[in-house]
Amino acid sequence: MSAPEQTAPRTLSSGFGRLIVLVYVVFALSAGVRAGFQVATKFSHAPISYSLSAIAALIYLVAAIAIIRGNGRLALAAVSVELAGVVGVGAVSFAVSGWFPEASVWSHFGSGYGYVPLVLPAVGLVYLLRRRRSEESPAG
């Protein structure tokens, strides 16, 4: 029951970061493929929804790559943009529902994806900020 020895250096994608990366990669791929298909086949149907879904997929991809490569600053930026995006787009989708005839990843605060798009950046932000703080004070 002794504390595990930290022989390997702790990277951003180890520990809980590993789970976060898995979810980001799955979202980047699923949202990306879906948005790509929607843009290719029926873009005029709901141009704002599909464009925003494609942008969301891109940001998920950037966040995943930044965490895997240990680029804390880029990861923090991507996750912050993501949080602002889901809150902003979520609010606009309720205010001006006519812009969103079809659901987007971020519309209605991600309700079409079980609100994971809202929870994910919040969890990611807490994780990245805590990791950054523990790196600034290595004694802790």
């Binding site: 595990p4 180890s14 520990g15 590993r18 789970l19 979810v23 079980g114």
Partner: protein, 145 residues
């Protein structure tokens, strides 16, 4: 049943379709239940800080057998179904097939409790994908019956 065959081929065909739909429904419900069970088991091990080990591989393997059965059955049975959502249906099934394997490799190289935690999360992802499979099956493939 067999004696009635020549008389009512159409009804027989309808019966066949009804049983096909049953098989598909039982498969995605079964996969979903198995995925959630695996996830619960692995999250308990996450809580206990258990390292990824062989018995976890057996758990992932069992889920993979079910997922593979689903894809094979779907390819054999759904090809003749009405509706245009078949490619979408198969893409979700194949994604569900890949996610636990990728998560198992990605998680097994971690020394912390979140190694198995990552594999546990893949079970939730598979369950969510099965919800989409269900929706696509109900509204985009199994239509006009």
């Amino acid at each position: 049943m067999r004696s009635a065959m020549p008389r009512s081929l159409a009804a027989e065909a309808d019966n066949a379709w009804a049983s096909v739909w049953d098989v598909i429904e039982w498969l995605y419900l079964g996969v979903q239940a198995a995925a959630l069970a695996m996830s619960a088991w692995f999250f308990v091990d996450t809580y206990r800080s258990v390292q990824v080990s062989r018995r976890h591989a057996v758990g992932v393997g069992a889920l993979e057998v079910l997922l593979l059965a689903q894809v094979v059955v779907a390819v054999v049975l759904v090809s003749g179904a009405p509706g245009g959502g078949k490619a979408l249906l198969f893409s979700y099934m194949v994604t569900a097939l890949l996610v636990p394997v990728i998560a198992a490799f990605w998680g097994s190289i971690d020394r912390s409790r979140w190694g198995i935690g990552t594999v546990a999360a893949s079970g939730l992802i598979v369950a969510a994908l099965m919800m989409r499979v269900h929706q696509i099956w109900e509204f985009q493939v199994n239509v006009g019956s």
